[in-house]
């Protein structure tokens, strides 16, 4: 049973994508309406699922942004899901930091590592880049399992986190309650959608897309093609990190499973099923995918669902992942390609 709000949101978003200023207006309306969801959706279970969907949507937005604007695919997106969780856990458990400080630490730590990596890998060709992110993600996964580090990382069992205080006024139990967590998640969603919206329509977005289409010509036209893509990578990393932070705030748990490669499949499929219709697409995709996943979880065939979803979605796209980009540009008449 899918939440009707999300289906109609998608319809609204798609029809609104046509006119220039009605798109921002629609987004603002959606944003306002979104806060009211817990009033309408009473089921704690489905609200919890919706929260998970939003988190996946945030990750999908980050991955989708990088994919569409730069043709870079983060196979290793799980790193951004798990790293903030572990950093938050370490700060809370080992140093007794408050949740606010721990969250800040989680974000900054992940971003620092990500930028350091980004410096080295952004220049790589698309497939090499994807493989490198995969390697880094897998490395992290192995890292937390190292027996020597068990005291810090909890090894296979992971870490159960006890918050030292409240996060922005919300207690740990509040954050674990779907209805109370929703506004936090929704605020982040609105914020990141805004970020991507602005980035895509700005000069920065145009430069990214031109670089994506003909990197050599950009260089020979005097443009530095490294810095913008590093910036795009940084933005995507930041958004994905926020997703990971939301996860740990909600679940109070850090475990090696967070770093599983399979998350990449979920994220990319969500980014794709939402379509490139607008910045809202990946968010809708994340929610839709999570709801679908739930249906299959009951029958115990989670991974089967993921596998089938991936195959169908990618196979169904006429020109594949990169084709969306080209088709979008054509639909918009060669101007600002959306998202």
């Amino acid at each position: 049973m899918s939440a009707p709000v999300d289906v109609s949101a998608a319809l609204v978003a798609k029809s609104m994508a046509v006119s220039r200023w009605s798109a921002p207006a629609a987004l603002v309306i959606l944003a306002a309406l979104g806060f009211a969801v817990p009033l309408w959706l009473r089921s704690s279970f489905y609200l919890g699922l919706a929260n998970q969907g939003l988190i996946l949507g945030v990750l999908a937005l980050a991955a989708g942004f990088l994919m569409h604007q730069c043709r870079m695919v983060i196979f290793g997106v799980a790193a951004f899901y798990g790293a903030p969780a572990y950093l938050f856990a370490i700060a809370s458990l080992n140093w007794s930091w408050s949740p606010n400080a721990a969250a800040l630490f989680a974000i900054l730590g992940t971003m620092l590592a990500s930028l350091a990596m980004g410096f080295a890998i952004v220049r790589a060709k698309p497939l090499a880049f994807a493989m490198l992110t995969l390697a880094i993600g897998q490395m992290l996964r192995q890292l937390v399992l190292i027996t020597g580090l068990r005291p810090i990382t909890g090894g296979e069992d992971g870490l159960n986190i006890v918050f030292n205080g409240a996060f922005l006024g919300l207690s740990q139990s509040a954050l674990a309650t779907p209805a109370r967590f929703w506004p936090v998640a929704w605020t982040v969603v609105c914020a990141v959608v805004l970020m991507v919206f602005v980035a895509t329509r700005s000069r920065f977005g145009r430069i990214l897309r031109a670089t994506r289409d003909n990197e050599e010509r950009m260089r020979f036209s005097g443009y530095d093609t490294f810095a913008p893509r590093l910036a795009a990578f940084a933005l995507a990393s930041f958004i994905a990190t926020l997703g990971g932070l939301l996860q740990v705030l909600n679940s109070s748990f850090a475990s090696p499973e967070l770093l599983d490669f399979s998350l990449a499949g979920n994220v990319l499929v969500s980014a794709l099923i939402g379509g490139g219709a607008s910045v809202v697409g990946p968010i809708v995709g994340g929610v839709a995918f999570t709801l679908g996943l739930d249906q299959f979880a009951a029958s115990g065939h989670l991974e089967l669902f993921t596998g089938v979803a991936i195959v169908i979605v990618i196979a169904a796209l006429p020109d594949g992942v990169e084709g969306i980009v080209a088709r979008l540009a054509r639909r918009r008449g060669g101007g600002d390609a959306q998202n």
Binding site: R203, I207, R217, R219, F220, S221, G222, Y223, G333, G334
Partner: protein
């Protein structure tokens, strides 16, 4: 303006460029580079523009050794180029890509470039939808923006009809004279080269055979031998 000193590029046993010395000191002139296939013409252009690195030798541009400079840096210094295989932005319209490049290299002459290369008709068309000849001219237009001092054109007439080739060269010649730019053109179309170039350099197997005015070159026995010998 441009001085090339003992430029060599070899990989393995192949010597793509073998000790090229060349000097272009006057602006407002068109300098042609011709030679049989495999002579190293495009390689030379690649090295000057920064697309490839020479094994040894120097490239001086207005007194500056540009060997270590990236293509982007060279463009900002004033060396711009067009490409043998059309390299434009397929999903952008003509005017959009001109604006994009102009935003980086200097933007006051977009309209002049458009009218000079007769692109007004297609200015709002997406580059992937326009005719091949128009696309070639867009490629050249992108190189013309921002008042470059050294304009490198790599087989600009590739795939164009005789009429289109003549038209293109006329446009380029007019622009070169008007703006006092130095142009270096690699071209297979011998007729166009002899018709429009002020000086011609002939390359063969990575070596410079001779440099001179069209008439001298036409009559030079070494040049004739190189062309006839290799059956170009």
């Amino acid at each position: 303006m441009l001085r090339i000193e003992d430029l060599c590029l070899h990989y393995g046993n192949l010597r793509a460029l073998d000790g090229i010395d060349l000097s272009l000191s006057q602006s407002g002139r068109i300098h042609g580079i011709i030679g049989p296939n495999g002579a190293g013409k495009s390689t030379l252009m690649d090295v000057i523009s920064g697309r490839r690195r020479a094994t040894s030798g120097r490239v001086w541009f207005r007194g500056v050794d540009v060997g270590a400079r990236s293509p982007a840096e060279r463009r900002r210094l004033g060396i711009s180029r067009s490409f043998q295989r059309t390299s434009i932005f397929p999903t952008l319209t003509v005017i959009e890509q001109l604006e994009l490049v102009a935003a980086r290299v200097g933007g006051d002459d977009i309209e002049k470039v458009i009218s000079a290369l007769e692109l007004n008709r297609v200015r709002n068309e997406r580059a992937e939808t326009i005719a091949y000849g128009d696309q070639r001219r867009v490629d050249v237009a992108l190189a013309l923006l921002g008042n470059p001092r050294l304009l490198l054109l790599d087989e600009p007439a590739a795939g164009l009809s005789r009429a289109e080739t003549t038209a293109l060269f006329e446009h380029v010649a007019a622009l070169v004279r008007e703006r006092d730019v130095t142009a270096m053109i690699v071209e297979h179309d011998v007729e166009a080269v002899f018709g429009f170039c002020d000086d011609i350099t002939v390359l063969d197997l990575g070596r410079l055979l001779m440099t001179g005015e069209p008439d001298e070159v036409r009559r030079d026995p070494k040049v004739i031998a190189a062309y006839l010998g290799s059956g170009a």
